[in-house]
Each structure stands twice: as structure tokens, then as C-alpha cells.
């Protein structure tokens, strides 16, 4: 699987945020912890000051004091070092504390009876030395609790940020997805440039490159089409000359064998001329010709009749019963020549690929969205695997001995693509999978009033 930019961006953002939050959390934890300890030292100092002030006003007041808040962790003990006004022993609470008598003034941390204490020693004006003592274990718990409270908002913020990043990153890649969809939905001959408006600037170079490529492909396709058209055109004149020469040869007195060969020769010239005509028709169909006027519309039944007039001789030679099924007419929004070329090529193919005695039906019907022209035959049909390939130029179904140009369906497909029509192949006889039915769905003209008027006439 290819690396996903979206996933990588999301992951990078998430890790950065988590990292920053972690560092910030550690720092604020440490800062809060230190601050809490300083604050507690401050409390010891202030208590000592308070004791000194009390001693100044009422010298000899009791110095030993055990201050305890509502909770166990705010316990502070004040105790003289010289044994003056000694404690009554309170063994349950570990009092009096076993403080060494030789302590100098100042703040220190020391171990007493296996526990660690913060001890502040001061001397009053009267020379009494006393200590303000707090259990360090309780102090640490207090500091940690305060620090955790400082970190908590960070954790909540991080969770919110993670959600936000996920929500923000996904829509950023919407334009890329839409771009891929647009290119994907294009037909093979749709080479107009991709719109660069609204494309993110990071993707724009890529879009520009694709557009340049599309332009080059378009140029090369046009050059190829021009070549086919020019070549077919150039071949016409020499072929016309051969045709004339054959004509003149026919006027000469010839032995029977010569006359038979002349017939074969003229047949060959005829086929070559048809092939060139089809090549020209294909080139014309592929060229992005001037679009038909918006109000162009043509009666399908009229086209059927012209095609039948054209193909009756061929159908009779091959003993094919060709006809129209249904009297319903419909108008399609297209140039008459295009519709005629489509129907003629389909009917011509149907006649050629249906065995003698077979049947070819032309039909038209109007659906909700389009006008469907159908040409079906009683021939062998086209195997599923071949249905896409038969649209390729010069492709002939396996096992067919036909002398058609091999361009008929290519021409139909090219015109249909230009008109925005769909061409579908399926079996005429669905039960046995035989026979070919070609359906061309064309757009109906937008002005529907004309239909009724023509239908009545």
C-alpha cells in the first residue's frame, strides 16, 4: 500500500502535539512542585516569625505546639530545642520529636526516627532556640497533588487538539479526491484540460503537468487522425483512376476468362473504395467536429427508411429479411448524417454477419431519459469476451469470413462518443445467447412540441 499523505500528516501532527504536551506537562509539573515546596518553606518561616512575635510580647509563653489542620497532611510541630517547657510525652504521635540540641539556626532537611523532616531552627530575642518542623513525606504529597492539578488542563487540551486535528486534516484532502474522481470519470477522447481554479497550490504543479501532458496527447491524437484522413483522401484519386481504367477495359473485346477476371478486379476496386470511404467516415467521426446546432433534430423513422433504401440490394443478395419493428417515431437531437451513419453501419454489420435466411430488425423507442435505437439480428452474436474489442478498428469477430471494412462499429462508437450517446451490445435472444442487439441511446431534443406536429404529418 502506498504511503498516505493524510495519514502521515495526521500522525506527525498527533505525535508533535503529544510530545509538546508531554514536555510542557513535565515542566509545569516540576515548576508547580518547586513552587509548592517554596510555599511550604515560606509557611515554616512565617510560623517561626509568629512564634518570635508571641515570645516578644509575652516572654516565657509556651513554645511547644502541635498545629494540625483538618487533614493529616498539614501538620506542623513547634518545639524548643533547650528542653524549656518540655512536652508531655505523647508517644502515639511521636512527640516530642527527638531533635538534636546542637542544631544551628537555618532551614534543613533531616532524618529523625527513620522519617524525613523539614526543620527550621530560630533563636528568639531572649535566646530561646526553637524548631518549626514539618514531615517531608506529607509535604511531598501536597506538592505532587498541586503539580498534578497544574498538569490536568494540559491533558484535557491535548485530547481536544487530537480530535480537532483529525477533523481538520480530512477535509484538506477533499480537493485531491475530487480531482482524481474528475480525471477518472473522463472518456478516452475527453482531453480538455483540468480546471486549475480551486486546486490547492501544492497540487497545482501536478495538475499543470497533467494538463500539459493532455495537450501533447491531444496533439498527437489529432495528428494521427489527420494522417488517417489525409492518407484516405490521397488514396482516393489513384483508386478512382484504377476504377476508370477498369471501366475502359470493360469496353474492349475480351476473351471469356479475361472478362471473368475483370469482374473480380472491379469487385476488388469497389471494396477498396468502400474501405477508404469508411476510413474517411471514421476520421470525420473522430474529429471534434462543429457541434450540431442546438435545435438539430431528426426523425428516426426517416433515417430508417433512408438506410433501408440504401441496404435493400445488399440484404436481398444475402437473403436477409430486414425491416422495421413498430410504427412509433421519435426525434433525436443530432445531425441527420450522424444518425444515418450510425444506423447504416449497424444495419450493414447485421446483414453481413447474419447467415442467409436470417432476420434483421430496426426499432426505436422513447424512454424517460433518451431515445433508444435498436438494431438486432438473428446471427451468431458476439461472445461476452469480445464485446469490448469489436469497437477497435479492423477487429473482426473470430471465425467470420466477412469482407466488411472492420471499421463499422469504430465509426458508430466514435460518433456516439461525440454525441454523448451510449452504445450497448447484448444478445438479441437472451435465452440462447445468440443474435446481436445493439442499442444506441441518444438524447431527445429539448423542444418536444415538434414531435407531435411531425407525427401527425
Amino acid at each position: 500500500m502506498n504511503p498516505s499523505l493524510q495519514r502521515r500528516l495526521s500522525r506527525a501532527l498527533l505525535f508533535s502535539i503529544a510530545g509538546v504536551a508531554l514536555v510542557a506537562g513535565v515542566f509545569s509539573f516540576m515548576a508547580a512542585y518547586d513552587e509548592a515546596r517554596e510555599l511550604q518553606d515560606d509557611v515554616l518561616h512565617r510560623m517561626a516569625q509568629l512564634v518570635e512575635r508571641v515570645q516578644e510580647r509575652t516572654p516565657g509563653a509556651a513554645l511547644n505546639l502541635h498545629v494540625q489542620g483538618e487533614e493529616d497532611d498539614t501538620r506542623v510541630t513547634i518545639q524548643t530545642l533547650d528542653g524549656a517547657g518540655a512536652w508531655e510525652a505523647q508517644p502515639g504521635r511521636g512527640l516530642p520529636l527527638a531533635l538534636p540540641t546542637a542544631l544551628g539556626d537555618g532551614l534543613r532537611t533531616m532524618a529523625i526516627d527513620g522519617a524525613t523532616f523539614r526543620v527550621l531552627v530560630r533563636t528568639t530575642a531572649s535566646g530561646t532556640r526553637f524548631a518549626v518542623v514539618q514531615d517531608l513525606r506529607l509535604r511531598r504529597e501536597l506538592a505532587r497533588y498541586g503539580a498534578l492539578r497544574a498538569v490536568l488542563p494540559f491533558l484535557v487540551l491535548m485530547a481536544i487538539l487530537l480530535l480537532l486535528v483529525a477533523r481538520l486534516v480530512r477535509p484538506l484532502f477533499g480537493p485531491v479526491t475530487r480531482l482524481a474522481q474528475e480525471v477518472n470519470e473522463r472518456g478516452e477522447s475527453d482531453l480538455h484540460p483540468i480546471a486549475e481554479a480551486g486546486v490547492p497550490s501544492e497540487v497545482q504543479p501536478f495538475v499543470s503537468a497533467i494538463n500539459r501532458l493532455l495537450e501533447r496527447v491531444g496533439q498527437s491524437v489529432r495528428a494521427q487522425q489527420r494522417f488517417v484522413a489525409d492518407a484516405a483522401h490521397e488514396l482516393r484519386s489513384p483508386l478512382a483512376a484504377r476504377s476508370l481504367q477498369a471501366e475502359r477495359l470493360a469496353q474492349v473485346e475480351l476473351p471469356q476468362a479475361g472478362r471473368e477476371r475483370l469482374v473480380a478486379l472491379r469487385c476488388g476496386i469497389d471494396r477498396a473504395r468502400q474501405l477508404i470511404d469508411q476510413l474517411l467516415a471514421l476520421a470525420r467521426a473522430q474529429a471534434q467536429a462543429v457541434p450540431a446546432p442546438a435545435d438539430a433534430s431528426v426523425s428516426v423513422q426517416a433515417v430508417f427508411r433512408r438506410v433501408l433504401e440504401d441496404l435493400m440490394p445488399l440484404a436481398e443478395t444475402r437473403q436477409i429479411d430486414i425491416g422495421v419493428v413498430g410504427a412509433e417515431d421519435a426525434e433525436v437531437a443530432a445531425a441527420e448524417l450522424d444518425v444515418f451513419t450510425i444506423v447504416r453501419n449497424l444495419a450493414d454489420n447485421a446483414i453481413r454477419y447474419t447467415p442467409a435466411g436470417g432476420r434483421v430488425d430496426l426499432a426505436v423507442r422513447t424512454t424517460a431519459s433518451a431515445v433508444e435505437i435498436r438494431v438486432s439480428d438473428s446471427g451468431p452474436g458476439i461472445a461476452l469476451a469480445e464485446r469490448e474489442r469489436v469497437f477497435d478498428p479492423f477487429y473482426r469477430a473470430a471465425g467470420s469470413d466477412q469482407v466488411g471494412s472492420g471499421l463499422g462499429l469504430s465509426i458508430v462508437r466514435a460518433i456516439a462518443t461525440r454525441l454523448g450517446a451510449r452504445v450497448a451490445l447484448d444478445a438479441a435472444d437472451a435465452e440462447h445467447g445468440t443474435g446481436l442487439r445493439v442499442t444506441v441511446a441518444l438524447a431527445a431534443p429539448t423542444h418536444r412540441g415538434v414531435m407531435g406536429a411531425l407525427g401527425a404529418g
Binding site: R305, M312, P313, E316, G323, V324, A327, L362
Partner: protein, 79 residues
């Protein structure tokens, strides 16, 4: 006509044949043939065209007039 022998045709048979012969290779629908056979306001008999075609084929040979299924009738080019 048929084998060099003159063939007697009724007026309507002739009118129908003439309409088809004017444009060999073109297919004429029943409506168009009826227009050739009848003037304005004349009542058209429902199977008149089929009847006349049948008669013409009997007199001239079946191949002369060809039926194109679902569309109409025609006389082949060069016939």
C-alpha cells in the same frame, strides 16, 4: 412488359406502379401510396394498397415490387 407481352393494368394499378417507378430504390409507405391513388375527400379502403400490390405482382412477377417490412414497398433500382 413481362417478356415483351403487353400487360393490361387497371387505372389504380397503373397509378401505384407509376408512383413506385418514379423513384426506383425509394421506399413508399402505405400512406404515401394511398395519396397517389385517391384524391382529396375520397374514402380510402383499408386493404386497397395490399390488394393492388398483389394484383401487380401476379401480372408482372413477384420480384418486381418488394415489400420492406414495417416501412412500405419499393421497386429495386435497375429493375
Amino acid at each position: 412488359m413481362a417478356g415483351g407481352q403487353p400487360v393490361p393494368l387497371s387505372q389504380r394499378e397503373f397509378a401505384l406502379l407509376q408512383a413506385l417507378l418514379l423513384r426506383p430504390g425509394a421506399i413508399l409507405s402505405r400512406g404515401e401510396l394511398e395519396d397517389h391513388l385517391y384524391g382529396w375527400g375520397e374514402e380510402v379502403q383499408s386493404n386497397a394498397v395490399e390488394y393492388l400490390i398483389h394484383a401487380l405482382r401476379r401480372k408482372l412477377g413477384a420480384e418486381v415490387i418488394r415489400n420492406v417490412r414495417g416501412v412500405g414497398w419499393m421497386v429495386a433500382k435497375g429493375a
